[in-house]
Structures are given as C-alpha cells and as structure tokens.
Symmetry: C2
C-alpha cells in the first residue's frame, strides 16, 4: 500500500530532510527538526504524490488517503493530549502548503482550524482568555472563507469596519469579546448569504476543505506565474502540512517571529530577524504591524527603541540562538526559520535555506568556506550565477547630488531610477514600451508579481524586511525600499506625497535598495566593486572551470568592461554594429544603394579605413587574447532608413532621386528577412563586401604588429553557412587577400557559425574547411523551432502557461531539439577535424542552464555579453562540478 501521509513531532518522524521531493521543503524540514529533538508542534505531511495523483485522476484523492489521515491525526491528538473537535479540549491545527521549492506567499494557508461554536468555548476555557478564543475564531472564519470557500475577504473587512465604526473604535485589538462574538455571527451570516449554505461546523469537513484548497491552489494563477518565473515544473506538486496549532497571541509572554542565521541582505553572521509579541505568524509576514528586532544589537544599529526579543524574552532568545546555531551547522547553510512562543514556550514552525541577496549569498558562501563549514567547491555551488547579476550593475554615485525625499527599509540592494507607476499592470505595460519604471505600492501581494518583475525597483509604504515586497524583490534581484512609512499613496489620484512634495504618475524617482533612500529624479551611478569576496569566489571558480569565457563585444567600451569582468577573448564581434554609427552609416547606405559593383567598391573604399581602425582598437584592448570577427550578417535593408523623409535625405546626399531610393529599398524588402538575403549569402552575392572586411582585419593586424610588436591571430567567422561550398568560396577570397598582404596560413584562421540545422547536420563536411565552429544558438533556435523571436511574444505566454515549453527557448537552450543538433555538429565536426575549436556565441552563452549543457558537450568556450561574463565563469565552474561530482 502506498504511504501517502508522513507523521512528525514528539521527537520522531516518518520522514527526514532527504525526502524533500516527497514531503515538500516545509514538511521535510519539520520532520528533520523533530528528528533533531527540536520543539516542533506535532503534525503530519500529505505527500506531493497525493497532489500528482489528485491531478492525474481528475481531482480525486487516492482511496487509502482517508484512513491514513485519520491515523496520523490520532497520533497528533495523542502527543498534544487534545482531540480534534472535542468541545472541552479541542485540538486545533494549521493547514499549510509546502512544495519542493519554496514558493513564499504563493500558496494558501489556514490557521486555527477545528474551531466552531462549541470548540471555541473549550479554547476560551482552556486558555482562560475568551477574547483570544473569539479573535482566533473570527480570524479562522475569515481566512477559511477566503481561501477555501472563496468568499472574498473584502466582505469580512467591510463587516469589521462597520462594527468598529458602530463601536467607535479604530484598532482591531480594541474589540472586546462581545464585539468579536457578534463579528463571528455576522461573518457566518455573510457566508450563508454568499454561498447559500452555512459555514462548515464539522472540524473534519473543515480539514478536508482546507486540504483540497491547498491542492487546488497549486493551479491558481499566482502559483502558475511564480512557477513560470522561477522555472518550477508543474509536475512537482505540493505537499500539505497539517500541524497542531501553537499560539503566539496568548498574551505578552507569547510571540511569533521569523529569523535568519545570517543577515540575508549583507551576509553578516548575526541573529537577524523580527518578531511581534502577542501575535500570530501571519501578522509578521503580512507586514500589517511593523515588527521589532530580535537582537539588541540590530535594534541599536537601527536606532529603534522598541524592546528586542533578547530584552523582552531573554530565556527564549537564548534558546532560539542555540537552536539556530544547531540548525545552521546541521544544514550547513544559512537558515530562515519561523517560530512561535506560546506562554513562554518556544516552538519551531519552519526551517529552510534562507533566501538572500546576491551580496549576502556571496559573503555567506565565501565565509562558510573560510569557516570550514563547507568546501570551496561547495561554495562555488552555493552561489546562483544569475544572482551575481545584482552585484555587477551600477550603484548610485556617492558624489552625486541626491534630493532624498524619505528613507524606508533597505529591503533589496541595488539602485534604480524610473518613472512612477502605481499598478502592476501599468508597470508591465510601460516596461514593455521600453520605459524604466518604479512600482510604488502601499504593500504588495502575490497579484503584483508580474508588475514587480517588470519594474526596475519597488517602493512600499508598509511592511518589513520580510514582507512580501522585500522577499520577492530580493529573489528577483530588484532593488526594493519597503515600509517607507512617511509616504502617502493615493492610487485614485495617482499621487505619492512625502511631506509637502507631491509626485505624480510618470515622475522620475530613484531608489537605493541598499540604504533605503528614496530620491527625487534620476541619480548617476557607478560601477560595482569587483574585489573582495567576489574576486575570491571567482578565483575558486576559475580554478575549477574547464571552458573559456569570452565576450560578445564590438565597441571599445564593451571590450574593456568585459576584460574587467574576466573575459578571455572576444567570441563574437558583430561587424554590422560598427556600420550603424553616425559617421559611417551614409557610406553604408551608399554601398547598399549601388547599382553596380564599381559603385559598391567605391563606397566600400570609404568604409575600409574606419573598419580597420575599429579592429585596430579592439586588438589593442584585447592584447594577446583571441578575437573572433563575424563578417556582415544582417539583411542590407536593415541599414536603410524607414521613413520617406529620411529616405529623401539619403537620396539627396547620395545624389540619387527619391524614386530610385524607394525602388532600391523596395527591391530589398523581404517577406521573411530572417530567412532571406543575409549572412554569407551577402558575401556570395557581393563578395567585395567581405573582401573589404577581410582586408580591414588583416591591415589592422599588421598595424597592431607595427605599433606594439604584438602578434594577433584574427579568427574570421562566416555567418549563416548551410553548405560547405559557401564557406569554400568565401574562404578562398579571404585567403587571397591574406596572401596578397603577405600573411602565412598560420597567421589567421577562418571558421563559421553553426546556426542553421543544415550546417549542424553537415558539420562533417563543413569542418573540412572550417577551423572553428561557433554555435549561433539564437538563429539555430529560430530555425529548429521554425519560430521567430520577434514574432513569438504573441503566443509564447500561451506556450509557457500550457507547459508546451518548460522555458523560453530563446533564454535557455532547448537541450532536446537544438541541443541535439549541437551534439550532432560537435560529434561530426570532431570526427572530421579532431580538436576543432567549438564555442557558443548566442545569448544562451550567458545563461547558466545553457552553459551547463555546453560543458556536457565539451565546448571549448562560451561567449556572452560583458555583464554576463562573471555569471558565465561561475556557471562554467558549477557545470564542471555537476558533471563530475566532487569527492570531497
């Protein structure tokens, strides 16, 4: 019989941390903590396999589930010494989701389950606190109705407001037992009104309702968006954790809190967290009351006056600190814990590896390795390469003038400027139009995730460092200032008021997520510091990785930036980018508009010196490192102006009639330019273009040698080759120019992009003529899928949503299809020319998952944009470690 339910608590568990896939992160860690002898309220986990079975079987549970849950519940009753539904001594439980990967705020939770008109009286009697009992009861009804019965929560908030108004009170805590009792009655009446059936009073019915709600929430829209953004497969499913309730809201000797074993923003080793006295856990996370610091040191550092947990419950603090040390040592990673103190007794509700900023992740990884807690190789694996991105982007220039409007919590580091928007949808729309936006909200909720993703930064007026906004922003690498309490946000008016300053939708704002500053207007930025922990970890990664990391660059700025980031050469210099610059586009257009070869050669003669100068500069910057130069690739019409006015201007300057200009532009029109007259096809039709480029490369090589004595061995790359003979013809022309200028065969190499399926399939032939292959995975993805990147936006979402594509194939390399072609090409290329140099220069070259694939097929290098070079260095090291797991 399949085991669907796993018990924990009372110092023993059916499961452990190793069963994460089966029990979800929360369930596995509850079991592990229980096994470690830590104080965990007893409970049980309904496994993720139930979720999968449920969805595979038209939302019907496995037959054995009911009996297994009954048995597990009985075990909890035994440990707690209370009975589910018992009027005198009722067991209350929480029901929580718990997937394999943490999905904060995405799944629904129900607390205080088991309360009804009878058990509430038992709770009142047992706790000696009827107000607490009824407060729990009305919270339960509201939460359960919202999450399970789908009666929208605003109904209950409305009732609450009316009650408070009629009683003349402003705070919930001012409501007395009588008022809460009336509220409960009013809530239940509203449920009856909305549903036409009463609120369920049977605790077992409540329990099954909540379990169903958790499983169903796996497929709600917020969960789907989160999974998509975080690449979590739908098939993983969620577990459900049913756990005896403990109460942090039973008085001033009760509390609830969250804490990290190290500072999740900076990585500093300290007890870092927040708590609320006399509160339930959801109150902290929801950011409704502003929480206090756990440690006195943190409190003092922040200049706060409210007592820390260390001060208010010193015994508990000591106990908690010890448990945190134990957990970190046990898990060998920074832990994010939740705890509740019920009448002075500490209960652990959760532990998990804590989310952290990139800076913190870096510091923690390097320091833990230094502490001997983990190995250097493990440290490499601990850093998400994508997260490095946050450390590489500019921060505010400290010397710049800053008109600081206010200060909030430094919830997620980094700096950003942008226009103010107040709505997630608007943020998405404006970002799609190319604008940098700052999303400003009173607080954020899971419904805002798409807007947060689209925004450059997030600002909230409410919520702490562990509020939804803060946690999600850190995960996304967006700067965030949270809980900036002096802000007044008026959604309807579209204004943000700070003192007397009124900012409107569309005004520009700058956030510094590392300091919490909110600044008027845009502020200049400076480049990040790349020494210290960063350099240490990169050094470890460089020792481990096998693949070289090059960059895609054609401007001196990009080339220099990439070298600072550790690029080991240029893998893709797109010569056409050099054609667009203002001082040469006229000559380019003249070349395109030529009717004869002679005219074209005349125009090309003007381009030769500037191209030569471009290459000379690049060779100087990359001194001693390889430089791969791709000859002209895009269809010529890309260089032509689009409007009639511009066309007229060009016509006048080029001395041809507008009609001629239009005719020629029309001749260049293509139905499917991506599949048109581009790449080496231009070289075949107009060999003089490639000849000019080859000449510029060779002459630059000679010039650099004359100027510095450095010997550059340029790598000339022919794009869009689909047949060996294309390469032969063009290589022949390049060789002729090389020979004319006195180059030896060893003085340069000629290779090709592999970016068409046919090239991959015929790589054995092509390798006869190509000294290297560079996989152009942008085009290869387009042709393998028959999918234009420019046109796929319309339906790519449909494809991701319905799970047809697990990931956007233009972001992460499709191993099955495109990857298969790469394997074929690598194998055939090496069969013909053992040791042929293989690299990748599509945008996948900077994507960690794609880099892992490149390691698997033993490419020699990846090439990516300058800012992704460190990411690629780290990812390449991780790929080596994952390919052949370390023995230490």
């Amino acid at each position: 019989m399949t085991k669907w339910v796993y018990s924990f608590g009372g110092g023993a568990s059916d499961g452990d941390a190793g069963l994460r896939n089966l029990l979800g992160g929360k369930g596995a860690n509850l079991a592990e903590m229980s096994n470690l002898g830590l104080p965990v309220p007893p409970g049980f986990t309904i496994s993720t396999e139930v979720c999968t079975a449920y969805y595979d079987n038209n939302r019907v549970y496995p037959a054995e589930l009911k009996a297994q849950i009954a048995e597990a519940l009985a075990k909890v009753e035994g440990i707690v010494g209370a009975n589910f539904g018992d009027k005198a001594n009722p067991l209350l439980v929480s029901v929580r989701s718990g997937a394999r990967a943490s999905m904060p705020g995405m799944m629904d939770t129900v607390l205080n389950l088991g309360l009804n008109d009878e058990t509430v009286e038992g709770l009142a009697a047992l706790s000696g606190n009827p107000r607490f009992a009824y407060d729990s009861y009305r919270r339960f009804i509201q939460m359960y109705s919202d999450v399970v019965l789908e009666v929208d929560h605003y109904h209950f908030e409305e009732i609450l407001d009316i009650h408070k108004e009629s009683l003349g009170v402003t705070l919930d805590t001012e409501l007395n037992v009588e008022a809460l009792r009336e509220l409960v009655a009013a809530y239940k009446a509203k449920v009856q009104e909305e549903l036409g059936s009463p609120f369920p009073t049977d605790p077992h019915e409540q329990l099954w309702g909540a379990i169903g709600a958790v499983f169903n929430s796996w497929q709600n829209d917020r969960a789907k968006v989160y999974r998509r953004l975080h690449n979590i497969p739908e098939a993983w499913g969620t577990a459900v954790n049913v756990q005896a309730m403990v109460f942090g809201n039973m008085g001033e000797d009760s509390a609830t809190g969250v804490a990290f074993t190290r500072n999740p923003a900076t990585g500093t080793r300290e007890v870092y967290g927040e708590y609320l006295l006399n509160a339930q856990g959801e109150d902290v996370v929801a950011g409704i009351r502003t929480p206090r610091y756990i440690s006195t040191a943190a409190k003092l550092a922040a200049g706060e006056t409210d007592p820390s947990l260390e001060e208010s419950l010193p015994q508990t603090f000591a106990e908690l600190s010890a448990i945190m040390d134990k957990l970190e040592a046990h898990y060998r990673d920074m832990q994010d814990i939740e705890f509740t103190v019920q009448k002075g007794r500490l209960w652990m509700l959760q532990t998990r590896s804590g989310k952290r900023t990139a800076a913190a992740a870096l510091k923690i990884a390097v320091e833990m390795a230094s502490e001997g807690l983990i190995t250097e190789r493990e440290a490499i694996g601990r850093m998400d390469p994508e997260a490095l991105d946050q450390l590489l982007h500019p921060t505010l220039d400290p010397k710049a003038h800053k008109e600081i409007l206010t200060r909030g919590l430094p919830a997620s580091p980094g700096a950003a400027s942008g226009i103010i928007v107040f709505d997630a949808d608007e943020a998405e729309r404006s970002a799609a139009e190319g604008r940098d936006v700052i999303l400003v909200r009173i607080e954020t909720s899971p419904e805002d995730i798409h807007g947060m993703h689209a925004a450059r930064g997030i600002l909230t007026s409410r919520g702490g460092m562990t509020s939804h906004a803060a946690v999600v922003a850190r995960g996304m690498g967006r700067p965030c200032v949270s809980g900036a309490g002096s802000l007044r946000i008026d959604y309807a008016a579209g204004t943000l008021t700070i003192g007397t300053e009124v900012l409107k939708r569309g005004d520009v704002l700058t956030l510094d997520g590392s300091t919490g500053e909110v600044i008027k207007g845009a502020v200049p930025t400076i480049n990040p510091e790349l020494s210290g922990d960063f350099a240490t970890l990169m050094g470890w990664a460089d020792k481990v990785r096998r693949m070289k990391v090059r960059t895609n660059a054609e401007t001196p700025l990009d080339a220099r930036t990439a070298r600072e980031f550790g690029a080991e050469g240029i893998g893709l210099c797109r010569t056409e980018h050099m054609f667009f610059e203002a001082d040469r586009i006229m000559a380019v257009r003249e070349m395109i508009l030529s009717e004869t070869e002679a005219e074209r050669r005349a125009a090309l003669a003007k381009l030769l010196p500037v191209q030569r100068q471009d290459f000379t500069e690049l060779f100087h910057i990359m001194k001693g490192l390889p430089v791969t130069i791709r000859l002209l690739d895009p269809p010529l019409h890309e260089f032509l102006p689009k409007t009639d006015e511009e066309l007229k201007e060009i016509a006048d300057q080029a001395g041809v009639s507008l009609a001629t200009m239009r005719k020629r532009a029309n001749e260049l029109h293509e139905f499917n330019p991506m599949l048109g007259h581009r790449g080496c096809r231009l070289g075949i039709s107009y060999p003089e273009i490639y000849e000019m480029q080859a000449r510029a490369i060779f002459e630059a090589t000679l010039q650099v040698f004359r100027e510095t004595g450095d010997t550059v061995v340029p790598e000339i790359m022919i794009p869009l080759v689909g047949a060996k003979k294309e390469l032969d013809i063009l290589k022949g022309k390049i060789d002729a120019i090389a020979a004319e200028l006195g180059f030896k065969e060893s003085g340069y190499i000629v290779g090709t992009m592999i970016e068409l399926p046919r090239a991959a399939l015929l790589a054995d032939q092509i390798a006869q003529s190509a000294a290297f292959f560079s996989f152009g995975t942008n085009d290869l993805t387009q042709t393998t899928y028959g999918l234009s990147r420019d046109d796929s936006a319309n339906f790519l979402d449909d494809y991701l949503r319905s799970g047809i594509y697990e990931k956007d194939p233009f972001v992460t390399l499709d191993r099955e299809g495109v990857g298969q072609l790469i394997r074929i090409a690598a194998e055939k290329g090496r069969a013909t020319r053992p040791g042929i140099k293989l690299g990748i220069c599509g945008e996948h070259g900077g994507d960690p998952a794609s880099i892992a694939f490149c390691e698997e097929v033993s490419l020699d290098y990846v090439s990516c944009s300058p800012y992704r070079v460190p990411i690629a260095r780290l990812a390449a090291a991780q790929a080596v470690l994952n390919n052949a797991p370390a023995k230490d």
Copy 2:
C-alpha cells in the same frame, strides 16, 4: 601513365559505348560504331578527365597530353592516308565537344581545321574543285575566328554582304573562286584588325586553339544555363573529338543529313529524317536551308515535291537503312544519327539515343517492349516521368472554332495560348509577371534558352524539325511550331505579319505543336486521352511500385482530376484554401477580427456548415480512399485584405471602425510570418478554430455514412508541430469532439506534419501521440536551410551558378540535409511506433528525384498535385527498379 586520348576508326577503337563518362556520348558512340564495323571517319577523343584536370589545375593541360595527341593524330593520318598540314595531301579535321549528356547547340564546333593558304591549294587540287576548297576555307576562318578567337561573326557576315553586293549576287553559292579568295583575304585582314595579330596558319596551333575553345566553352554562359536547366553537374566535364573531315559538299553525289530510327514526334517506327545535297552538316542543323525528307513515304505524306534521299541516292538510302536497323538493335533504343555522303560514300558521324517527345517516348517504350526488344521493366525506365507532363495537359478542342493564320512544322507537340513576345528577356519578364507568353522568333539560338523556358510555346519562321528551336522545345516539353515560312517578323516594329493580318506584341496567339497550326486568339482545350500506351505503361508501373500515390487537393475539381490520374487518396487537404472562397471569406475575417472568444465562436459557427459541406463532398468523391485533412495552417493576417479601401469595406460589413480594423490588422503583422503565429500555434491560442474544423470533419463523416453507408476514416493532420505536448493538447480537443459525436477510437486517426527540424529530431516523442507523419518538405526545407522560398529568388541564381546548390532545394529534395532529417524522423518514429504511416506532402512529392529518395527511406506514400500523380506513379516504379535492380 594516365591515358588521356582514345583513338577510333579504321574498324577498331581504344574505347566503346561503355566509356560514356570518360569519352562523352559522341566519342563513346563513335568508338562503338567503329567497333561494329560501321564506316566512321577516323579520329580520337580527348577524355572528360582532361577537362576536369584542366579546370582543377587553373586551365593547364596534363603534361602527357601533347605526346598522346601527336600519336593519335599520326594514327589518323595513317588510316586516311593524308598528313596534317601537308601542302599536297592535307588531312583536315573537325573538332567537336562531346559531354556525357547530350547538350545540343550548347558547345562549339570547328570544321575544316587544318586549312591555310598552302593546304587549301592541296585540297583544291585533290578535290578538283577549287571553289569547294576556298568555300571550305572561308567557312573555316569564320567559324574558327568566331569560336576560338572570339571575333564576332557579324564582322564576317558584313564583309560577305559587302562582297555580294559589290558583285551583284544574292546567294553565297553564286560567289566564284575569285570572290571566295578575296573573301578569305578580307576575313584574315579583319582578324588582324580586331586582334592585332594574324589568323593562325599553323594547323597545330589551330588544333590546340580549337581544343582549348571546346574546353573553355564548358564554362560559357549558355552551357551553364543548359546544365542548370537539365541538372547536369559541372564536374562531369566535356570530351573533345578530333575527327578526319568528310565532305557532304563535294557535289551532287555528296550529301549530309540527320535521321531517327523512329519518328521522334510520334514514336512511329519509320526512317525519319532530313538531308541536304551538297552541304555540310551544320547547314542542316542550323536550319539555314530547308532540308528534304529522307524517305519517300515521308515526302509524300508531307506533300513535298523535292526528291527524297531514297530517290536521289537509292544505294546510299539502302545502306543507311540497314545501318540504322543495326544500330537500333545494338543499342536497344531509338537512335538519332548524323551522316555524310562524300562522293557517294556513306560516313557515320554520330549516333546517340534520340531525343523524343513524351508521346513518342511512351509509344517507343511500349512498342519496344511489345516487340521484345526490351522488357516491361526496361520500358518503365525508358520514360522520363517529367516528360509525362506533356501528355497530361489539355490539347485544343477539335470542335472549337479556330482562325488558322498559317501552318508551320509540328516541331514539339502540345497546345498553348499566350501573348506574343519577340524577345527571350521579355518572355522571361512577362512570364515572371504571371502572363502566358508565346515566344516568336525568326529562329532561335542558345542565347534564347531562358526565354524558351519561360514561354508557353515557341513559334519560328525558319528551321526544320531538327532546328535548334524544335530540339530544345521538345526537350523542355514546350509546344513548338517551327519553319512557318509565311510569317514576316519585324523585331523593331514588334509585329508579326501573315498575309494581310498584322499581329502586334501583346496580341494573343495559339499554337498547336502537334499539327503545326498557328491560330489567332485563344482556343479552348480538352483533356488528354489517358488510355492506350499511357494506360499500358502506367499499368506496368503500378505492378512494380511499392509506394502509394496520393494527391494534394481540396477542391472537388482537383480531387476528381487526381482520381482520374490514378490518385489513391488525398494526402493533403489544405483547409485554409477553403477559407478564401468568396462566400466565406467574410466570416473568416469576422473570426479573425473577433476581440473575444465568444465573438470568435459566433463567426466560426457560420463557417462550420460550409466546412462540413466541403468535407462531405470530398469524402463522396474519394469514396473508399483515405483523406488527410490538415487543420488551419497559415498566419491569420493572410486572410485580411491589404489595401485601405478593402479594409474599409470589411470594417463596414463587419460593423467595426476602420481604426479598429487597422489596429487588429497591425496586431497581426509579423516580421517573419513563416516563423510566426501559424500552424498548430493558432490551434493552441484559439482552440475553437480547430474544434470547429474537427467538428466539421466528424459531422461530414457521419453525413456520408448516412447518405451512402460508406465508412470514412478521416485522417486529421496537425501542422507545424515542434513539441509532443502541442500535439497532445490539440489531439485531446479533437478526441473530445469525436467522443461527443460518438466516434470510436478506430473511427479516425490524428497525425502530424513533420516540417520543422525539431519535430524530426524529436520524432520518437511525437510518434507516441501521432498515428502518422506527413513530411512537409516545403517548410522543412525552409527551416533546415534557414531560407525563405519567397525571398530566395534574389540570390538562388547566384547559388546555382556558383555550384553551391546543385539543384533548387525547393524543387528537388536536399538529400544531405533535409533528407538526413527525414531519415532521422522515419527511424525514430518507427522505433516508437512500428508501422507508423509515413508520407510526404511537400511539392517534392511530385518530383521524380525526390520520389526516389522517398523510396529509399521506405515512405508509405507520396502526395502531389493532381497533374503530377501519373509522374509520381511512374517515378515510384522507377525508384523501386533503381533501388533493387531487376534481374531480367
């Protein structure tokens, strides 16, 4: 040492007919005839390997060539009893090209080589005919200067005209020895003037010049065009034949002629040919004098009065007839021969398999099999499937009124109407614009080939049945009327005058190439007769072939036509073609312009009944045969009108504003529609479209069952699948509708196109859900090459010319690339689902070379346009025979 030169003549040869690749067709057959003991002037063949070596080695000859030629020349001198360059007894030779495949008129020829001011006197003395000697000399200078020295022939024509004028004569034959002697002097002076160096007088220098000219002519533009049109690889090269001259212009007992062993137009078994008394061979082929019939029967049938060869030289005729019988029996195929009679002695100059019309090829193949000369299987192989095309197209309706303007020679069968053009370039341009054109020329030359290819028919006022126009038109399958002597063509005025009738450029003309009629205006046509020899050969082919032949059809007319041509089902019914019809395009546009699913469903509801009716009709026509229906494939914007006026009309009719219409149309715009929102991507985004189509198919199936009791098992095909899950989702929706209508699983099948590289690479996964694959090789070629068919015209010529592509990959399947994907997909598909049904429905399905590939990879069927069905049936049979050669 490599043997570069092969001697023949004197009853023995170094080579034979089996060495065709080495010696070219002409050289191999001269050797063979010599071996057979037939009278062949002695000579030698310089092999095709010399040509290849010459081009591989920068146009330098192999070192040993000179000595081998000298030796071979000495052998000829020995046999003839004359010496090359001997003043008293000079040996004269012809130098001719001879490639592996016949390339009539494409390669250059030099006759009478060896003449100079001294040897001409020897020839005069020996022949006793100084006029003949000087006429030969001046012809030699003109031909050699034109072909070898590249002094344009008009220079010589001008000189000739001036001489004739000054002497007051009009015919060349009226020039006496003195005049010819002066002409020679004037010709030589012109050469000196043009080249700055004298005409070569050393016969050896002449010989090497001519040999070089032949080899160089392999790369002239005419040769390249011909090779491209006839798919002859450049690498084959040409041989050079040097042969002792014999003279058909030595008086009235001399003659020259060409003949076929069967009638090349009809296939009838008869001596068929033409000759000229006292003429050189080139006179017949060039069509300058109108030749006479060889047999008296043919002469009488044509109503001619000039004596036949049978009458003028009966002895020679008898000898020739016997040789022709011997050659046909020896070669087991209809022969095309050239002969010369020198002073009563018959010499054979060439034999080769004769070009023939499709009708003749069919009749000859079937009759030779009936005669026992060849087997049925050989008969299948004798018919070029492409040539069948000529038999399948309509001929003139005999009941139609025809205003016959004149009658020429029935040079190439078939009928065509079109507008008159007088120029090959214009023919090409007009045809490219979609017009049917008739190319009208006084006579045609190799420079006109591209225009002849573009034209629907060819009309000439000069030249016989073996003139350039006639031979080329038959090869191309274009109707041709040649030698219509009553026409007066004025190129400058752009007029064609017949009696008093003056037709202008652009007027419509009809040609009947089977009768020689030239008819004013357009004439209705009728379908060809498909019984008789055609049915016999098709029957033999059907016994042999393994693959089924289906058709691509969606209209009742196409479906009926295809059935008449023997289609065994529909392999591709493109449902979108049904959407374009006038009575439904409005509903289609309404559907596309819907903003909501509800609106879209409303529009689709209007389309359902018409689609159902379409399918019902097709099922009725195809009764009992499989029908594969492809769901909507093209991007939706293809259905929208293009102009603002049309958009406005649609907007009004659809009840939306023009602005809305424009906005929606703009939203549908794509940069690369071929790679855009099309195929099953539409089905994923708008499932209701495919649901409507599936419903229409199933309801039509039910209706046909109700009406006739026939059980149709529809094959529903999902286009542009690239991932298994796309197919799963859409198949799920189709299955749901099938279930709703009470269909069993065996009542229909769902399969997919394989038209993306990714689909081919993941065919193992896709086959889990697909009951069949149909290779959509149009799209598969586009994506494998990254090449848009619509945009490739601009540079495809460059690619064919430079030999990068041997053939247009959209016409003949690329075995190496696209074919490799097909092999992968077939193998993987069968591994998952043994016996999975595999077919091809791209246009390659009607191309014989591609069909051969389909047989090699064991596809189950090919599907092609209706008129190509017989071609595919024959090609499929030939593929079987070529794959496993018959033992009989």
